[in-house]
Subunit: 252 residues, 8 copies
């Protein structure tokens, strides 16, 4: 609730359009539905431009269904469910229409297929093995209304592959660079483009990759200046941020 | 060197405007000055929109002076020197006009004071002790031509202070959130605004803050969706990225 | 055995009510039952006000049963078994009346249902996914005779949800703040209330959450002053400590 | 600002005692003084029962002085400055009356010497080398109005020393257990007393003590149930929490 | 693409043997086949003397098959597939002739059995338990055309075993030293031979071996001067590097 | 092979009892049987007083059987197999007489039941959950011919239990102190006895116990002076060392 | 205080030789002198065979002097002060006769020069740079009455040097193996001797030695069976333990 | 001492050219000079082709001088002293002719200036700040008789700089790739060349570079196949190994 809404509510109080007690109650309860195990925030899309997203990990299939239904009843669209296990996805798709992407374990409900995809986000990834993350990023960005180009398997040890896409890279408005192992991709891309680069470390690797920690650290220490980083395997986060940035230049 | 320039160069070769050998040489050496200890890239501002920035740490004052002079001779402006020790700053300011900011150890040379400051970047920080980082971010963004608002000492344990600036926060185009200790500021801000948030962990704290590692990890695990992270104490990087994002909406 | 009991025992020796040898023997063996694989301490509730609690992890179902029976034979009530696997719970419930809570893997035996629940402990948690920990805390506190209010899914990225419960929070005698990921909840609550806050990091998260380590570190570095921390996922410990604190103000 | 105050303010708005705009402004700015580098919160003692405490580390002496003076001008008493370097302490004591404790680097300004010290907090520490932390805890608790007993050098390798104080330990309302190296003191004490134990790991040790990390981890894993933990060397935090707990039983 | 090839291509452009546009296209696409999920680099063997190697981990059996077939269609031989799970190996061997080594999970396709094995590489390992790694190294080196001697179970705690092979060790051109636990083997061997030693830490051990981290660190700190290190369990990498070194002395 | 044996062998050479070539061969091959996957050292018991011990982890059941049989054929007794999985144990016991201890996963073959058990080793452990480690220590010591007393479940949080065995503790020649969680047991025992204490951290615990790392670190930092430490869960190692120490005082 | 003394004291109580109250007091205060900052335990040498040792780190010179004098007044001999800084040593030697060893920073007061040195402890170290630790071990053992042989600079990369001392090594009753970097020395020695080996990691090294952590981990993972480990740089601890073991075989 | 020498010595014994006792003595003492604090190995250059190298860190200037003199007296040349502090260098250069390189802290004594420099080693480094390491590598390789080309400041964020040297890179026999921060240089170079690449992580960076750990981990996880790694800042080691490899192709 921002300052403007607060003043407006206070004005209503002054004009006796609303009692102070109701105003306080309104401040307290309005935008939520409390399901016991979860509090669904229906004003998120007003406040932040995007629905609440359902983090599927550690949640029972029943809880996910409950939250999704509650959102559907509020008419929300493009509901994203991340880290949705295959089992939970099966459970859900028996009950509601679910678009499920197996590799990135991403569910989409009540997708708005007319929503135009605008701008220009590139999702580049180091290798085939990173696809479970890069697809999460790409799909998230698409659901949020962005045009996405995928450049997969362009890791730095085969520099020629990446350089062969240089013309596409330099035209991007945002680049999402996904890599495991030594995580060098964002540094190399970051030195070539002049748009923001969102680096996504993946847990791909073995031994001293420590589940993606090495890639994460490498990306945080990138000597290229335009690189910021999200959590290991957080394709969703990268797609979300890239969408915010990509949409900044749009005339509203 | 992008695809277009390559084709153009190849065209020149075909038209005998240039021999293949010279073309190869040109591809190889053009945009650099090799000082022995450093290779200065004068095309960076063409390719990436911003000059090369001098990372002062572990460089001798003489080396920094050499690089700076070389850039000045090439007519470069708004030269930023980060992590410039007080001693090196003194050495430099005897030789060239230097604008030096003590707290963030930031040097600026040949500043273009007419450059307009546009857009709207907020630099919010958790406490007074973080100022050496938040000032590095704010000054960097200003030198790069952005309008910056500083909200310092608005840490999450005194939520009222931050909420009192909510109206300014929700109007920002980018927020840089700087915090040490538990690094919770970006999560709280990220839940309130709908623009990208660049999180900067600082080394402020003691004991189990492990030189900023705790804040870094916390920010990477932010449950707010629009948050990406840079290295510990990397105010410069945050200012640089925020600038890139802030300038995206501008008509060019 | 405290000083007073020691002097009393020594007095008995002096008065020849007991031989020195028996006194030494008494000092040595009295309050325990040695089951071979475990030594059950029946004086714990005298000395510490609470029964010994059975830590179920890494113990065979047979051992847990043995200890429980031994305690039952000594008339102990409100026996808590933590980290009781579903398999062991099934094994036990065939042999003795067992109240088993699946999510937090908590067993309760010979519960005293008349024990009044007094005081006011709030268990607040960041998200639905943390419930396996927050329920362990809440149930523990209830078994120990405390009144408990649950505020679940009030994470800091949706600040409005937590603020909507501010009136309840400020009235609490103790708050248990349970959170995974960046672990910021205790800091924000700690800045709003004036009672002790027990912070419980959970292993909820992925990537750089490192199994709850990030939340743990963040909580230890809280910039709010009234926060102390227990081990990752240690809902039991938090409930136990909260109970001790909550009961301090009671007239005895 | 709690629910009650909000309703009261809203009532004032309704009764035209105050305009909505002023109400909003009041909500925004009232309790703070913004010094540029710091925002001093004068309502902290109302809201949380204790003044804001000044964290001296990484702050310039001038900034500390500025904040202190601002608090003095608002009539605040018992102002605590933690991690106050010897140099800053000297600078301050030239300008304002300062009670400075060298070992724990603790400053106290405008102490209320009439404030009675009540209750019963024990500060136990493992060794002489931990005194810089245990004194910070003890002094903090005393300034906040608690009676404190010091039991220093009672480490677990000389169990007899600690057991010789068992009668005092079992009478405490809260125990602060301070230890470096293997950090076993809170576990042993926690098994003997029935009040809350606040464990404070210290950075005393060498090699694999890793600056107090070992003691911290050990304390978090205490097999005694009533133990919660604060950051390494955080004597202030322990004293503060112990005070909150100690005062719970008081008739108010 | 090296400098010579670039000049040659530019010459072709100048001589009108090729249009600039085609040259650019050639630069861009020539050596790759883009399978969607992977970009196969058929010039690797030209550029680096060895085929691309397929990293089997995290790849679907179908993807591995696709890449392998694509390489077979390009006439590539001695195709190595590392970290090939038993399931994927079964899937593949139904479709194409596959030589599969169970212990090191290594697949070889279209092996050139006439290729002579030259030079002299020793693979020494600390224990029987390290064989899954040492066999990966030995087989890789053999496929790449090197003569390999295996010295297994010659760990440092039984020094006599290793010393009994001293005459073979001192004649090697490269030694691959494979060890888990404390990882001391490369140090001891490194002090005895005068050829390069490639150290391979393995994940064999328990407790504070931390999945091979201890062996890795020990090897990096070797007090013997000729030792360089690869990732934990990276037998393939060691075999590959050893091959490069072993072949250096050959007349070409 | 020690200096004395070398001189003796050299004497034989001089006296023509043996040719130099055979002497060299003897030096090289004598005490081993090379099974391909393992080199069995039959002189270990001569050189070190104890047979080679078979580390079962990561070894195939067939390999373990092969090594065991080879040792049996050489007449070795009291063959210990550590970390022997239940599956491998079943496989072995079909082929050879095997004494198998399930909890510590310890196998014993061809046990010498007449060997007297002498001296006095105490194995003390913190809790029931540590038994898989403490039994490995106790059985190892017994097989090696030591008298062992078990004191289980005497953790520091129930100090009375341990103190009740003080008379036994002070009479021990060596104490093996086994503990998980905070690992404080060796410190407390180390302060009470005057014999060597071997500390064994266990992986028992959760959260910030990090698989026994916390207990390990705590034990390494013990403030009691007579404590040395072995790897996490290394009950075998502790039993072996304790045996060496216990046997030192024996008249030989 | 052991069981026997307790029974004896209880007997005195029974015989009215002492009142119960005095007995309790005696139990409580007898063996200590409380200096305020330290509690000196004068019965340590009775209970544990050795004086309390003064850990000099983090203690003020005045405190060290106070403790030393108190011990001198009680007639204690061979007082060891570890980690005694050069400054504190100078301060002390002005006041009391102090034998100070600069390299290991070890102080000895009131040394009993007639005490015979018996048994046979070898202190072996990897390199010249480890001498500050190996000398601490050697001197400690000598003060405690052991005969010590020093074998310095016998690191594993120069195996010949160590093997040249094999005859001395195999005759030792205990070996202290001191090494930094990869910490392999104890493994190699442990495979050659049949006495207990105390491993001491040192902080000698750089980069990934992490202040001795690598050596520590390597030693804990030693594949040689008779090795136990003390903290990084803990020469004193190793000397102390070695002394306990060395003296076990002595006729008393 | 290899097998051939042993047989030869044994032959001498058999022929009575030498007594067994002297042979044993010879085996024991021949190639060393024991200076008390160090054992100088004069046969190293025979056995390993290179003199012993003096590791200057943690050694007193007097010790370094002593070792150097001892080597000079044995006629050794090209004596390398690494990590030689400026103070020790000054001390030495007063006593013996010393070639001292300040940046890499490298000393050279009795250099053989006629030794030809052969082969082709490239030392490439990411930035000016890495020169203290890359110079150590380059100088070491030069002293050992290799031709060295330096390519400094060719970090991956300015790919054009490195690509401009591609023709030189592909002609190298070995490449030493030196980089701090994200350590990506070896991966990129490793994908372009077909010779061995020795990766040297440097401690250049800040925050989450953790003193070079990030670069180290990244290099160990390189997705390029020909890369092996040495310790952080270990320029000497890299130069030494590169020399061994470079010299393999030489006709001897």
């Amino acid at each position: 609730m921002n300052q403007k809404e607060l003043i407006s509510l206070l004005n209503d109080v002054q004009k006796n359009n609303i009692t102070p007690e109701s105003a306080a109650a309104k401040l307290k309860t309005a935008p939520f539905d409390d399901l016991g195990y979860a509090v669904v925030d229906h004003h998120r899309s007003l406040r932040q431009g995007v629905n609440e997203v359902i983090f599927g990990q550690n949640k029972a299939a029943e809880q996910i269904l409950g939250i999704t239904k509650n959102m559907l009843e509020n008419g929300e669209r493009d509901i994203i469910i991340t880290r949705l296990s295959h089992e939970s996805a099966e459970y859900l798709s028996d009950k509601i229409p679910l678009e499920y992407h197996k590799l990135p374990k991403l569910g989409i409900v009540n997708r708005n297929k007319e929503k135009p995809q605008t701008g220009n986000i590139i999702v580049a990834s180091g290798g085939t093995s990173d696809m479970f993350v890069s697809e999460e990023a790409a799909l998230t960005a698409e659901v949020l209304g962005n045009r996405v180009t995928r450049l997969y398997d362009v890791g730095v040890a085969g520099l020629h592959r990446m350089l062969s896409h240089l013309d596409e890279l330099v035209k991007a408005r945002v680049v999402i660079a996904v890599a495991g192992m030594e995580g060098a991709l964002p540094s190399v891309i970051g030195g070539l483009v002049n748009c923001p680069v969102i680096a996504v470390p993946t847990s791909v690797g073995y031994g001293a990759s420590f589940g993606g920690t090495t890639a994460l650290l490498a990306m945080l220490n990138s000597c290229a200046s335009g690189v910021s980083v999200v959590n290991i395997d957080n394709g969703f986060g990268a797609g979300f941020i890239a969408s915010r940035i990509n949409k900044m230049g749009e005339v509203k």
